[in-house]
């Protein structure tokens, strides 16, 4: 029973769970109304992608990629190439989160809310008010 579960997980199961996590992250970005939850779900998507990369580099009888002794055989160590790429990806995602949060602060200062429906309503209101003011001062300017 354990070997059949192992065989199923190795072929398709873990990829399915990773895809489920990624889809939930994307659904969270679309469905959530609050901008801060969208940023958190963006980080969830990033974890799914990094896990997928690290999955591809595993070897069955392998140990961590630090050499134990001088004579090194390639079949005993896990592939270090995806680890290197993902290391920098994690650190860069910190910078991306920082930029997103600073944009969030500017939105809060200008509109006073960070829920998406209230934000769209306020933007529509301001657009209507600007259009009315422009027509009052310069009538017939659009033609």
């Amino acid at each position: 029973m354990m070997t059949t579960i192992d065989a199923f997980l190795a072929a398709k199961g873990i990829y399915l769970l990773t895809l489920l996590l990624l889809s939930l992250g994307v659904a969270g970005v679309i469905v959530c109304n609050n901008y801060m939850k969208k940023l958190i779900c963006m980080n969830v998507m990033q974890v799914a992608v990094i896990f997928f990369f690290l999955c591809l580099g595993q070897k069955d009888p392998g140990t961590i990629p630090v050499a134990m002794n001088e004579a090194v055989k390639a079949a005993e160590y896990i592939n270090p190439l995806p680890h290197g790429l993902m290391l920098t990806a994690i650190v860069v995602s910190l910078g991306t989160t920082g930029v997103g949060l600073s944009l969030l602060l500017r939105i809060k200062e200008k509109y006073g809310t960070i829920e998406e429906d209230d934000l769209l309503k306020k933007q529509a209101q301001q657009a209507r008010r600007d259009k009315k003011r422009r027509e009052l001062h310069h009538p017939g300017d659009d033609e």
């Binding site: 990629p65 050499a67 592939n79 190439l81 920098t88 650190v91 944009l103």
Partner: protein
């Protein structure tokens, strides 16, 4: 409406690739396509060519050093964009919302000295900084490297500014100065590449640096110099983002 469409797309996007998962390699297969070709060479020649038992460090700082240079530049650019976005001067900080004011404890002085807050921080912080230096210089031999050390230095600053407040932090860096400090990191990295051009090699080729040391030491020196650049870049960016965000928010124990 939006939620209904999202749920339908979710179910479709999970079930359709489930049929096509046979194309992907089985997990743990030593003969799959990503595990052959060039990573075998990196594993077997990491010690004799790069003088570092940690293969991940050998890959990111020696074999693929050009990519890491641009990753450090991207970190610096992220810090710079935070400074530029938050460059306007509002009349006051963003006030805390009304629901938080009810929770504030208005009896007694909120700023008080306890043993935990001010004394233990001055004992813990030097230990974390020494650990960051250890992680930086031992990156080749054991786990670690430049990115982790830079993040640890940033975490020290974060701890200090959270606990002690704005009165006397550990080093006084306004956000413009720390953005300039974060720029020194990629500069050191790029400078190390030019030294090997002087010796007659390619860019970032550590074998041909014209330094009067033994041949096996050149790689170690090159890797250490480059990792110092990465550390300064990452630490500077974290300090910049922290300072830029904390200038706009009003806290409980503010006196202004």
């Amino acid at each position: 409406m939006r939620r209904a469409i999202t749920i339908i797309l979710l179910i479709v996007s999970i079930t359709v690739p489930f049929i096509a998962f046979d194309v992907l390699p089985a997990i743990g297969d030593p003969a799959s396509a990503p595990n052959t070709h060039v990573s075998d060479y990196y594993i077997e020649h990491a010690i004799e060519e790069c003088n570092s038992p940690n293969m991940v460090t050998a890959v990111i700082v020696d074999y693929r050093a050009f990519d890491t240079m641009f990753e450090t530049t991207v970190m610096f650019l992220a810090g710079l964009s935070v400074v530029i976005i938050l460059a306007n001067r509002p009349k006051s900080r963003i006030p805390a919302p009304a629901s938080l004011k009810r929770l504030r404890d208005t009896s007694g002085n909120p700023v008080y000295r306890t043993v935990n807050k001010d004394v233990m921080i001055s004992i813990i912080e030097p230990v974390i900084l020494i650990y960051a230096m250890y992680v930086l210089f031992h990156g080749e031999i054991s786990l670690g490297g430049g990115f982790q050390a830079g993040a640890l230095i940033g975490m020290t600053y974060l701890l200090d500014i959270m606990v002690v407040g704005r009165k006397r932090p550990i080093f006084n860096l306004p956000k413009d100065n720390s953005a300039a400090l974060a720029g020194i990191g990629p500069f050191i990295y790029a400078l190390t590449g030019f030294i090997s051009i002087i010796g007659g090699g390619l860019y970032l080729e550590y074998n041909k640096m014209p330094l009067p040391v033994h041949q096996a030491e050149l790689h170690s020196l090159g890797i250490t110099a480059v990792e110092i650049g990465v550390t300064i870049g990452v630490a500077g960016t974290i300090i910049t983002i922290l300072n830029a965000l904390m200038e706009r928010i009003s806290f409980d124990d503010d006196n202004d």
